[in-house]
């Protein structure tokens, strides 16, 4: 029996001419692991909020939503609160209490559950999640992954029948994201809990999902088992949707028209690759030579306060003119700190930062900030004005452009921002905010752009657009430094990578050098083809190689 069912849903937000959801019918079976995906603004989050009655968005809704055969309105509110649980995207904002245990039991206390019952539920769940060591910790001291785990646990204590998750991993690093997805999968497998997961990182969830639904403009674009959806998307040839396919699936589909067994995991792809691909002996990659050092950090030490440990210790790194450097590293390795040091926002306790052989401390601040553009992890920190246009004009005036209006016009048409000019930055999607902030930086005509996690929380389409934009800027001669968790992104687009570990640069080199040499910290394609094509790390490289082989034979 369908546990949740939507019939002919139409929904539109006030003052929005276009419907956010239209003609949407959907039934979710009990015990199903359903993944909802689609570009930002396609209505998947709205759909999730409609399924959770307490937080229905304002707007006009027609159509019916049934839970276990009965319309949502006919239920007493208490039952729905218990039965349908929701985990939100941002790990921070969901937490209310200051102690982990207090946060866990908040829902139970709200529902008036008795003390004995509460203790039992907490005891067994804490055991399942392994949260014992954190039980009395302050919530503000937890990492993002731990916070999201806490949010999940707190919802589960109400013993829901359906668990809704709204991009729960968007703000997490890849390791924490994997852990969270695995726990959700376990809940589905071990307890038969019905899961509805909205997610962008499909590589992780394709092997686990029972059914995938791709949404587009408020409608269901295609649905089916993960393999069916991959096949349908591939057949449709829609370049936007193809960005949703995992790289290993794309590699397979490009090379194997039979489509007998589309690989969902590296293991499956590896078996296929070793049968199909022609091996190649490893050859030496050509090392690009950069003549000129543009930005350099020398033997730097940094700590936030005397009591805290050193974040960076004796770190040296050179950034060349025309570089496209990706700085990778685990959580808390100091990547963002390093970027702030390079931007001159922080200064090292020991060591120095040089911009074109000059210590940046001695440069005039306004000149420094103009030449080195810094984009923070959360682009919202960047905006102070009412509309994107005002934001851009202010930047143009600040940089002393002769004709601010004209400069703004040029940059908006280059970045494709014309349709959001009159919007408040808060009303833009993640990708649009990212672009608007970039546009502001570009108006300064910087020599270097420092970007902190620019791909965080972006859907694959926006991510690809960002990648193309960055490549374009790179071609125009702007030096790029990106801090990222995103191994695939770095492998595909960066020209150099550096791995930050234990306060210093553990290794650096071309993406090929770095990822082909790694076994664990590398791309999915590299893991799949490493026995046959040991130097290849991206789908594109393998495809180019195969084309070359074919043209020879």
């Amino acid at each position: 029996m369908a546990i949740l069912e939507c019939k002919q849903l139409y929904f539109s937000y006030p003052e929005e001419p276009k419907e956010t959801l239209s003609e949407l019918s959907l039934s979710i079976q009990e015990g199903e692991f359903l993944v909802l995906a689609g570009p930002s603004g396609c209505g998947k989050s709205t759909l999730l909020q409609l399924l959770k009655k307490e937080i229905h968005p304002f707007g006009s809704l027609t159509g019916d939503i049934f839970y276990q055969g009965k319309a949502l309105e006919d239920y007493p509110p208490a039952q729905l609160t218990k039965d349908i649980g929701l985990v939100f995207q941002d790990p921070e904002n969901q937490i209310v209490m200051d102690e982990v245990l207090q946060e866990l039991v908040l829902g139970l206390e709200n529902m008036g559950v008795g003390v004995a019952e509460m203790r039992r539920r907490v005891a067994e769940l804490v055991h399942f999640f392994g949260l014992e060591p954190l039980l009395h910790a302050k919530t503000e001291t937890l990492s993002g992954g731990q916070k999201q785990l806490l949010n999940l646990a707190s919802v589960l204590l109400l013993r829901p029948q359906v668990l809704l998750l709204d991009e729960p991993t968007a703000q997490l690093d890849p390791i924490a994201a994997k852990e969270l997805i695995q726990i959700v999968y376990r809940l589905n497998q071990e307890f038969g809990l019905t899961i509805v997961l909205v997610e962008h990182r499909l590589e992780e969830v394709f092997p686990l999902a029972d059914r995938v639904i791709l949404m587009k403009q408020g409608r269901i674009h295609c649905e089916g088992s993960p393999r069916e959806v991959i096949d349908q998307v591939w057949e449709s040839g829609n370049p936007e949707l193809i960005t949703y396919l995992p790289s290993i699936a794309r590699l397979y589909l490009e090379l194997d028209p039979s489509k007998e067994q589309i690989p969902l995991t590296v293991k499956e792809c590896k078996a296929w690759a070793e049968k199909t691909l022609k091996p190649m002996s490893p050859n030496q990659g050509t090392n690009e030579q950069y003549p000129e050092v543009l930005l350099e950090i020398k033997e730097a030490f940094y700590q936030y306060s005397r009591q805290t440990p050193w974040i960076l210790e004796d770190l040296s790194l050179q950034i060349y003119k025309g570089d496209h450097l990706a700085i990778l590293g685990g959580n808390g390795a100091g990547k963002s700190t390093l970027l702030k040091l390079l931007a001159g926002l922080l200064s090292p306790q020991k060591g120095k930062v040089l911009f074109g052989k000059q210590n940046i401390k001695k440069l005039k601040k306004s000149e420094l900030y103009q030449k080195i553009g810094y984009l923070p992890q959360d682009p919202m920190l960047f905006f102070v004005r009412e509309t994107v246009e005002q934001e851009l004009i202010a930047s143009a005036e600040q940089s002393g452009q002769a004709d601010p209006k004209k400069a703004v016009h040029e940059i908006t048409s280059q970045l494709g921002l014309s349709n959001v000019l009159n919007r408040h930055p808060h009303d833009c999607s993640g990708g649009e905010r990212q672009k608007a902030a970039l546009a502001c930086l570009l108006l300064n005509q910087p020599e270097v752009l420092l970007l902190d996690e620019p791909t965080k929380g972006l859907d694959p389409v926006s991510k690809q657009q960002l990648a193309f934009l960055l490549q374009e800027l790179h071609a125009q001669g702007i030096t790029l430094v990106i801090v990222s968790h995103d191994v695939e992104f770095a492998a595909q687009y960066a020209s150099r990578c550096a791995l930050l570990f234990d306060g210093g640069i553990a290794s650096h080199g071309t993406p090929q050098d770095m990822f082909a040499g790694n076994v664990f910290y590398t791309t999915a394609v590299s893991r799949a083809v490493r026995n046959v094509l040991p130097t290849m790390i991206t789908c594109e490289e393998v495809l180019a190689h195969c084309r070359a082989v074919r043209s020879i034979s």
Binding site: F88, D98, E99, G373
Partner: protein
């Protein structure tokens, strides 16, 4: 886990702090206030909150000194003119009044350190959610936001610096304008997030039921009754004395003698009792551990 004031029912410890706040505001007498300040500092140390105290120390010192200096400059009441500053008389009385206000403010600020340590968010909800569910939620979120806002503001500042918006540089009018801009960003961002926090509480059924339960089974125990009776007796005694005019110094027009008179001594001792009760409760835990 339940030690010292933590061990009591939330209502007991909450009432104790309300008493402390009340006394800090009512007893405008340098000797009483100095005693209270000492007592509160001792309490904070006993609770192991010295590091928190240290982190606030500098700003609190400045606020106090500011009041101390400002009062004699603005108020020229009083009979004993000590000297003239820019043709303005500086009186002995206004200096003493400044000292008293400084001590009173310090007491209130320091009581907050101890209060935050003892009255956790959970206890606060337990006390007030049934009476004022919406207000309790609002207070809770406001308190939670303070450290968050502090961190966020410094982030915004460091990013906006690169865009020429920096309240620490430039002429005064620019600083003020930039400062307002930063606060505006802070506010918009935080409101956005507060909505999400409220959603997450609603999603977990906050305010759905009249009868909320509590994970920690707080019960009124014998110790609660005992502590409550003793502290309330001491508190009423102090307030009674205050009504009779003890524990408030007459500053204007002429300064009363600062030294305590014999008739004041019982009231002073009841204040001491009020302070020592909590210090004893917290201290007992410490000694109990060191003996083991």
């Amino acid at each position: 886990m339940t030690r010292g004031l933590h061990g009591f029912h939330p209502f007991t410890s909450w009432l104790y702090f309300i008493g402390l706040f009340l006394l800090s505001m009512l007893l405008l007498h340098p000797i009483y206030l100095a005693t209270m300040l000492l007592g509160i500092v001792l309490l904070i140390c006993m609770q192991g909150q010295t590091s928190v105290l240290r982190s606030y120390l500098k700003s609190y010192l400045w606020i106090g000194l500011f009041i101390l200096v400002l009062n004699p400059l603005l108020s020229h009441r009083g009979q004993h003119i000590l000297f003239y500053l820019f043709d303005q008389p500086i009186t002995l009385e206004s200096i003493w009044y400044g000292i008293t206000m400084m001590l009173s403010l310090w007491c209130i600020l320091l009581v907050f350190i101890s209060y935050n340590h003892v009255i956790t968010a959970g206890k606060f909800l337990l006390l007030f959610c049934r009476l004022f569910p919406k207000t309790a939620l609002l207070c809770l979120m406001a308190v939670r936001f303070v450290p968050l806002l502090k961190r966020r503001l410094s982030e915004i500042h460091s990013v906006q610096k690169t865009r020429g918006i920096d309240p620490t540089e430039g002429p005064l009018w620019k600083r003020v304008r930039d400062g307002m801009l930063l606060l505006q960003v802070l506010l918009t961002m935080s409101l956005e997030e507060a909505i999400q926090t409220a959603d997450s509480m609603k999603a977990r059924g906050y305010g759905l039921f009249e009868q909320r339960s509590s994970y920690v089974p707080y019960r009124f125990k014998r110790a609660d009754y005992l502590f409550l009776t003793l502290t309330l007796a001491a508190l009423f005694c102090c307030i009674g004395g205050w009504i009779l005019g003890h524990g408030q110094l007459t500053f204007y027009p002429g300064l009363e003698g600062i030294v305590l008179t014999t008739s004041e001594v019982p009231y002073y001792f009841s204040l001491l009792l009020y302070l020592l009760l909590a210090i004893f409760i917290e201290g007992r835990e410490g000694f109990g551990h060191s003996r083991m």
